[in-house]
Symmetry: C2
Subunit: 389 residues, 2 copies
């Protein structure tokens, strides 16, 4: 077991309110941190740092927990820039373009999908992301849904079975048949490769009864529940998420007062996807309203080739501050500890003793610069499980 002292930290954001300034970000100034193997072994003021085997001097940089990107669709082939261009010219986003990606993904090999996913994971890592959830949902048949999850498992333990992304073309006349398949053979085959089940519960995707069937089946197969809800229109998504005690309900663009109250009274995290709102030209989800009601909020990229071809959590933070009413502190918390909560994880998204040593150093004296300097490559180095790279 080797120990490394990381010193020269101008501002250490721990996301542990029992530390430092006592704010939700638990900020320690002139800080140091000790990594032992994969974990954080000590945090505090540099003056009081213990002796260690080796040292790294960050020369006045800020350090934050690695980002927890709790909503991505990273395993796909092809791209949809033409669809995006037409949307920028005024065409609405309906989710209909998902079929394009399904066709390209089905046609791709395991190796091709794996290599492409790897390149996106590397882009994310370069921007400070150290935990990534990955959904299936571009296979929509048994063989390809499980293939996608197998690729995803090479990169994360946070894999999500999203057979219920949309109804594939071959089942256009037989919705019930597709839901049977999702709840039956597809679930049975995919469950060993997934931690979560997810349903796109919205106009043009799955309705309340279908969502209820699929979530029940997934829960019965031992999967945790999460949900795409209330993106395109107001619908039953948030209500179902609360009813099923989901870890998270994602998008949340169209919420009634009852939805917000139900979320606030529950442990369900509201995951906001600023990149999707940016790239679909939607009205941004109202993060301020959720936070003011006491809801736990996460921010994720939603990285996918249709509605959000975005790998940068710093950009999502900047958009959440500019457009969703989050303070810079709330946005950083949502992108780290919030994401961890949306995945029911205590070991990531914070930098206190016992957590994984997943951290990012910024070429800046404060985390504020993440949104103050949007579009910059501010992450100078990151560590995952104590390993730099």
């Amino acid at each position: 077991m080797t120990s490394t002292l990381v010193t020269g930290i101008s501002e250490l954001v721990t996301c542990d309110p029992t530390l430092g300034d006592g704010s939700p970000l638990g900020i320690v100034h002139k800080a140091a941190l000790v990594i032992e193997d994969e974990r954080v072994a000590w945090v505090g003021e540099a003056l009081h740092a213990p002796a260690t085997d080796t040292q790294t001097d960050l020369e006045g940089r800020a350090v934050i927990p690695g980002f927890v990107d709790s909503h991505t669709h990273l395993v796909f082939a092809g791209e949809r820039s033409a669809e995006w261009e037409s949307r920028m010219a005024g065409a609405p986003y309906t989710g209909g373009g998902i079929a394009t990606t399904v066709a390209a993904t089905r046609a791709a090999s395991f190796e091709k999908l794996r290599a492409h996913t790897q390149s996106l994971v590397e882009q994310m890592r370069a921007q400070g992301t150290t935990t990534i959830e990955i959904k299936s949902g571009y296979g929509l048949d048994v063989v390809h849904e499980v293939l996608i999850l197998e690729v995803a498992r090479d990169f994360t333990r946070e894999t999500t079975f999203l057979g219920a992304h949309v109804i594939p073309a071959e089942y256009a006349g037989d919705r019930e048949g597709y839901v049977d398949l999702v709840c039956g053979e597809m679930l049975q085959t995919c469950a060993p490769f997934a931690r979560w089940i997810d349903v796109f519960c919205d106009t043009g995707a799955f309705d309340e009864a279908e969502t209820r069937r699929i979530l029940s089946a997934g829960r019965g197969a031992g999967l945790g529940v999460r949900l795409h809800g209330n993106q395109l229109e107001h619908g039953p998504g948030v209500r179902l998420a609360v009813e099923f005690a989901a870890a998270s309900v994602d998008h949340c663009n169209h919420l009634s007062d009852e939805d917000v109250e139900a979320l606030a009274a529950s442990d369900v995290v509201a995951t906001l996807l600023p990149g999707a709102d940016f790239s679909t030209r939607a009205a941004y989800a109202n993060g301020r309203r959720l936070l003011d009601a006491g809801v736990t909020v996460a921010i994720a990229t939603d990285c996918n080739p249709g509605s959000a071809y975005i790998t940068s959590m710093p950009l999502c933070i900047a958009l959440a501050v500019r457009e969703m009413g989050l303070t810079p502190a709330e946005a950083l918390y949502a992108a780290t500890r919030g994401g961890a909560r949306a995945l029911h994880r205590e070991d990531v998204g914070r930098l206190s003793v016992g957590a994984y040593a997943d951290l990012a150093a910024l070429d800046a004296p404060s985390y504020l610069h993440l949104a103050y300097r949007p579009g910059s490559q501010l992450v100078s180095q990151s560590w995952r499980r104590g390993t730099p790279g």
Copy 2:
């Protein structure tokens, strides 16, 4: 004289409408390009490429002209993240914070200013920018205004004397005295280091009569005219820009129909600064209205520590598409050829024979990806004056 053939270009954006598809972007597919020393010597379909000394294969990447960032304030010291944070919490942007940067800049050495500018220029270059205009305006006394321009001259020939940025604190009771200084000793000392004169003509900065005096003096000293106008409120900026046949009037958030008509009937470029609108939480300038009226539009970063700490032209393009009503093609044109027009330059912002070989290769098959994948590091390599780096 060595010649290099750049091949494997899936899509070559020349910004020369006499080439390729005949659109304003002049796109050539399956293209190649020959660089001879600093210049473009040949462009066309790869099939017809001439023999050269050496070859570079871009393996299917798109190539665009290097970005022309025609409005920056790159030479400064200090940062203003606290001011930015208060603005995100609702405080308005008034330009008042400029004094903070003036104090920090006056306190900095030539070497420190130069090193900081260099780091920003490198960040910009990594994002594909090959021509940068740099303004003074954080010195506001003779010694420091000229010092800033000397630093700027190490990085660009496009230097702009902006002694008329705001009235410095020591002249708060003597506006006329400061305008005398700007038009007198300061201009005389700075003019040899500047190509342009600029005035921040807006509420809280300089009024119509002052602007007129300063621009006249600058023109008399042989400088070209450009103007900050109509950012914070409707004012005389655009009208004066047209009257003085300025190369560009920058910001353009508050325009009357008369302003738009006057711009359309003139050769003045309207330079939009999406990063400033993003970071000041302003209503975005209406690019669509200007383009529909026939005005030439440029996009620039406005990089400065107060209202737009942004170095990424791709982010500005994405914002212009999302928020200003530009098509992806119009936004790319504005960030290349538009910027060149705003600087009265024919040798940059386009990739046709005779122009400088300033180009950027993208890790993507089409320029569309610049805004389709915001926040990504899409520029894989760039060349300036024919030299990669």
